[in-house]
């Protein structure tokens, strides 16, 4: 195995750590082990929420907290808005990011609620292009097990997942279509779309 830090990366890491002392998951360099570790922690937290038996509202609150901590929310929001993001003002982008993060937590949180009595298990990790794909298997009561993949990147300097594939269905593409449809229906009015997004999911 390669040493954990080369001298150069150690210096970079040391200064980065000094600059960002409050980072919850201080990632040094993304590799198979750290990518897998991230998803293992994420899965543990999701499983804990699923097993908690809390109310739906409480669970969705938990999922939003988990989503904010483990995912690259700004990338996911930017991708979902697509080319329409180019004509959005700074304030609109910020408002969209906030509304979108809460919407994703509601929408996917409800789906994860169906996992009650089931669990996710981390299987393997593989490097693809500039990121890592961490494969998990979902075991649900009365269902054949199915694949859920997390794509993990350190684009932001932190290890975060930026896309999710459930049996081949990818979150980024699916949400870009949904946001695009919302904009079309509102004749491209971004503010109106953001207002409606707060009620969706």
């Amino acid at each position: 195995m390669a040493p954990l830090f080369s001298r150069r990366s150690f210096i970079a890491t040391a200064s980065a750590t000094a600059l960002m002392p409050a980072l919850p998951t201080a990632a040094f360099a993304l590799n198979e082990a750290t990518a897998k570790g991230l998803v293992e922690k994420l899965v543990q937290e999701i499983n804990k929420v699923i097993a908690s038996g809390k109310s739906e509202t409480a669970m969705i609150g938990d999922f939003e907290r988990i989503f904010k901590r483990y995912s690259d929310t700004s990338y996911i929001a930017a991708y979902a808005m697509g080319v329409d993001g180019r004509r959005a003002s700074g304030a609109q982008k910020k408002a969209f990011s906030t509304a979108f993060t809460a919407y994703v937590a509601r929408k996917y949180g409800k789906r994860f609620r169906e996992f009650i009595g089931g669990r996710l298990e981390v299987q393997s990790v593989k490097k693809v292009k500039s990121f890592y794909q961490v494969r998990t298997i979902a075991y649900l009561k009365g269902e054949s097990p199915f694949e859920v993949d997390f794509h993990v990147s350190d684009r932001t300097g932190k290890d975060l997942f930026f896309n999710l594939y459930i049996e081949g269905i990818n979150m980024l593409l699916t949400e870009r279509e949904e946001i695009g449809a919302m904009l079309d229906r509102r004749k491209g009015n971004i503010d109106q779309m953001i207002t409606d997004l707060k009620k969706a999911g």
């Binding site: 990338y75 930017a78 993001g85 789906r111 990121f131 009365g142 699916t174 229906r185």
Partner: protein, 223 residues
């Protein structure tokens, strides 16, 4: 072709069929599935699903053979024999307990392995989303199914009832997820299409790494 790799030259017709299908779901399938779910115990629902799936194994056997996948053909044969006998006519999935789990296929997949392209997206009345290749496959499967040749019409009626019950059961099982696609998404036609095509390509192993979205593709400034 759109960004998402969707070829949909018959969109106006497809959308009309989609409106019909959603209406049918709202008026019939959804309420019936809720009733079914309320009345029929989970265990029995699983048995119905198993028995219906078991009747699909001869068709899986034929298709796996045509695909040149002899291992897959063996799996289908083993499952059909074991589940039809030890599994009491297919109501128990004993083969899965032995580690030989279901791996369903169809003639659409056979066409794919022979090099047939996906073709255009089509939404079929009642049956739902498909492609020209997979719709052709459905027709061939109906003709090719070995059970159709050996069964007489008295045996075909219970088989059809079983398939309908299985469909109702599936609607119940995936109730909330399907509701969210059909009734909560902004454009349920596009959302259904995208979900179907992504999942189908994944099943056929078409999804390749080049199609994965890169984490640096988009400028995130301001988000």
């Amino acid at each position: 072709m759109s960004d998402a790799g969707v070829y949909d030259p018959h969109e106006p017709t497809n959308r009309a069929v989609h409106r019909f299908n959603v209406g049918l779901d709202r008026a019939v399938l959804r309420p019936v599935s809720k009733g079914y779910d309320a009345v029929v115990p989970d265990g029995v629902q699983t048995m119905v699903g198993n028995a219906s799936d078991n009747l699909g194994e001869p068709s899986n056997l034929v298709n796996r053979t045509l695909q040149g996948d002899l291992r897959g053909a063996g799996v289908a044969l083993y499952r059909f024999v074991v589940n039809s006998t030890v599994g009491l006519g297919g109501i128990y999935d004993v083969a899965a307990e032995f580690g030989v789990t279901a791996d369903d296929t169809d003639f659409g997949e056979t066409l794919h392995t022979w090099g047939g392209g996906e073709g255009a997206y089509v939404e079929l009345p009642v049956l739902g989303p498909s492609t020209t290749r997979d719709a052709t496959g459905r027709v061939v499967d109906a003709v090719l199914n070995p059970l159709s040749t050996v069964m007489n019409s008295d045996q075909k009626t219970p088989r059809t009832s079983l398939k309908v019950a299985d469909r109702v059961g599936s609607r119940a099982r995936y109730g909330d997820t399907l509701d969210s696609v059909l009734y909560e998404s902004t454009d349920s036609y596009s959302q259904t299409q995208l979900l179907y095509l992504q999942n189908r390509r994944f099943e056929l192993g078409i999804e390749n790494e080049d199609s994965y979205i890169d984490p640096t593709e988009i400028d995130t400034e301001g988000f």
